[in-house]
Amino acid sequence: MIMAPPAMVEIDAVCKQRSRADGCQVAILDRVDLQINPAEVIALIGPSGAGKSTFLRLLNRLDDVDAGEIRWFGQPHSSIDPLLLRRQVGLVAQKPFMFPGTVRENLMIPLADRKEPLPEGGELDELLAVCGAERDWLDQPARKLSVGQQQRVCLARALLNRPRLLLLDEPTSALDPETAGLVLERLTAMFRGSDAALLMVSHDHRLARRFADRILVLRDGRIVEENRGGRAEG
């Protein structure tokens, strides 16, 4: 009998609590189940405080689950080297952070530890184009860029790790609707044509419907609704 290959990510009854200021524990995520497969684009929507960012942090192992299990290609998360995992599961936070130095130096950061050079020529142009970033920015001080430009550089920096799963927390919140649409169009096309998956948190239901295959609604720490996105509906 041929066994089916394990899903990229399997999330089983995951719970996460946080301590409030008064010392009480409050549930942020409550028995969340989910499966993510390669080449999928998933949008996670829900009200503020629903646990969306916490969920992304668990997938990237910036935090550990309190109960339940996350498996990465069938392997328990906790048994994988976290540094290796974070290169495969990239996370771009909602608030962009630029390290001191130029945009080029920022892009070098994920590569420097592995002593890899920054790709040049067509490969770099392609990467920048997907993120809506421009080659002219490369030698500019990264912190002088606008927030929207910084968001796009953050995206490019995360993509340089060639993640198998990219987690985006409000990736286009500082972009105008036209640029946001353009960036997501190119980004989702790139992921659909590969063996990688994309999970993005969004407050913009219209964008989520337009670009995602699946839309998950997270409320009070639970996935309460799952809909097919516009792309899946064709």
Partner: protein, 260 residues
């Protein structure tokens, strides 16, 4: 070499200088500077502590036993650990363990090397030398330690976004916290480096002044001062290094996650 008779200070002399200090505090109160209470408390503390330590040293010099000297060094180190921890405003996990290990190791090693291998004390515990030399090393290391610990904790706290961004990109916790570590180490060494640079021009250091006042030949006092400054710098650097190296690890889990 003793060249001159020591000029003795009597109780009346002390009363006069203490009176001058009280006059200053009175003037500060008159002008509502707002520091008079702290000045008064600090001056009383200094008076009581120094009188007490004078008697303790007298007893220890009279006992002249290694256990008595080691006991007082232990008390000095314990107080230094407590004062370092008290000065750190931000939270640092396991701070007593981190600061305690660093001060005991850093001060212990440098005091041993200096007193045994360089000065060549005989007996090794000679309280007249060991206690004041260790006191200078511990005191300066305490200042460096509190600066290192406080700066490290505040930098980690202020740089959470930067550190987590680096972790997200697959960098190790050591690499992610590197700017905070460098900043803490620099802050710890600033007073010692400034003091070395200004020594002899802006001020005459305490130990050298004390030796000259008690009749020691100036060039011998200078040699002692250079030696003790080198040892103090080594001790401050070693202690601060241990604090930032061990301290930074206490902020992260073994899975390279920044603790809340």
């Amino acid at each position: 070499m003793q060249k001159a008779e020591l000029i003795r200070l009597g109780i009346v002399d002390l009363a006069v200088v203490y009176g001058l200090l009280l006059l200053t505090i009175g003037l500060a109160r008159l002008n509502r500077f707002g520091q008079e209470k702290e000045m008064l408390i600090a001056s009383v503390r200094m008076f009581v502590q120094l009188i007490a330590v004078g008697y303790v040293l007298k007893v220890i010099f009279a006992i002249d036993q290694p256990w008595a000297v080691l006991l007082i060094l232990l008390v000095m180190l314990a107080v230094a650990v407590q004062m370092t921890v008290a000065r750190v405003q931000h939270q640092m996990p396991g701070i007593y363990r981190v600061v305690g290990t660093a001060l005991f190791t850093g001060c212990g090693c440098t005091t041993f090397v200096f007193c045994t291998l360089i000065v060549g004390l005989s007996p090794w515990y000679d309280p007249r030398y060991l206690i004041p030399l260790a006191g200078m090393i511990i005191g300066n290391s305490m200042t460096g330690s509190s600066l290192a610990a406080e700066r490290l904790a505040s930098e980690i706290n202020d740089r959470r976004d930067e550190i987590e961004t680096a972790l997200c990109l697959g960098l190790s916790s050591t690499r992610a916290a590197q700017p905070a570590v460098h900043s803490a180490f620099r802050a710890a060494l600033i007073p010692t480096v400034n003091s070395m640079a200004a020594m002899g021009i802006v001020f005459l250091p305490g130990m050298m002044t004390g030796q000259i006042l008690s009749g020691t030949e100036p060039l011998l006092a200078v040699r002692y001062q250079i030696a003790i400054m080198c040892v103090i710098t080594v001790s401050v650097a070693l202690t601060s290094c241990l604090i930032v190296w061990r301290g930074v690890r206490s902020f992260f889990t073994s899975s390279h996650q920044l603790r809340e």
